[in-house]
Subunit: 159 residues, 2 copies
């Protein structure tokens, strides 16, 4: 049984909007910027931008918090349409983004703050032209056991 | 606040060990086989095999259930060493693996059954020679709201 909880962290909602100037961008900055644009689209409810952020084929997938995987453009984009159309969707902020660029693939690991709850997220990108497009998003709750485990042995990890 | 729970599913523990013959493997089967080898290494506690499964550089990362991301070979491999050395680690089975091959990257989406609890997992691979090596693993609890939401509107998704 997993023990899921919450961890409060105060993060400015515009954390991901503080981007470096495009001309100064390294390859890592570009994927960090793509990641920021994803969260900005969520925050502003910009479905057209959200749709544009994702690779334009069926090799895309998403695991929303608490949900099984969904696969394919219609299903994934449809899920984001539903989410962005929901006026009661939570505020979300991205903190501590860390880019790993690996050839034509990249991922950004970050903490999502959703209504005061911390989630561990990974956004996976494919290089498309001069930019990056999402191919997979997954976000998982960070459990309260993190705090407890700091005093415990690493062997107590669930898996 | 996320509502995390469990979903019981009976799955044979050797689900992932029923591999097609190597000579009959398509590119998808090869990554499905790599994914199965990952879970087999977990089940048997074979740390050498687990270590071999991962790409041999620092561009690897992992988000264990309930945990924030960890990055880099020493940290990621170290976490698996701790887990496999724990004689009380849970049994884990992989169900419904689905491969998405995208050039030199691939991911396998599957359901992990950990002590009767269903997790949504994504295992991301990089092509290395004729095979595949893990670069990222993430596993998230599937919440009880899945059952509730089947009768609800998709707009009730958390995100």
């Amino acid at each position: 049984m997993l023990h899921c909880g919450q961890k409060s962290t105060e993060v400015a909602l515009d954390f991901c909007l503080s981007l470096p100037h495009p001309r100064a961008m390294t390859k890592d900055n570009k994927v960090i910027a793509a990641n920021a644009a994803f969260y900005a689209a969520f925050s502003t409810g910009d479905f057209a931008e959200m749709e544009r952020m994702w690779a334009d084929d069926d090799a895309i997938s998403c695991i929303h918090p608490g949900w099984p995987a969904i696969v394919g453009r219609a299903t994934v984009i449809g899920s984001w349409r539903d989410i962005l159309q929901n006026p009661e969707r939570p505020q979300i902020a991205c903190a501590e983004p860390q880019a790993i660029v690996d050839g034509d693939s990249a991922r950004v690991l970050c903490i999502e703050i959703v209504d005061g709850t911390a989630l561990a997220a990974a956004n996976h990108f494919r290089r498309v032209g001069d930019g990056w497009r999402l191919v997979h998003h997954q976000s998982s709750p960070i459990a309260q056991i993190v705090e407890q485990a700091e005093e415990d042995s690493p062997s107590h990890r669930i898996h």
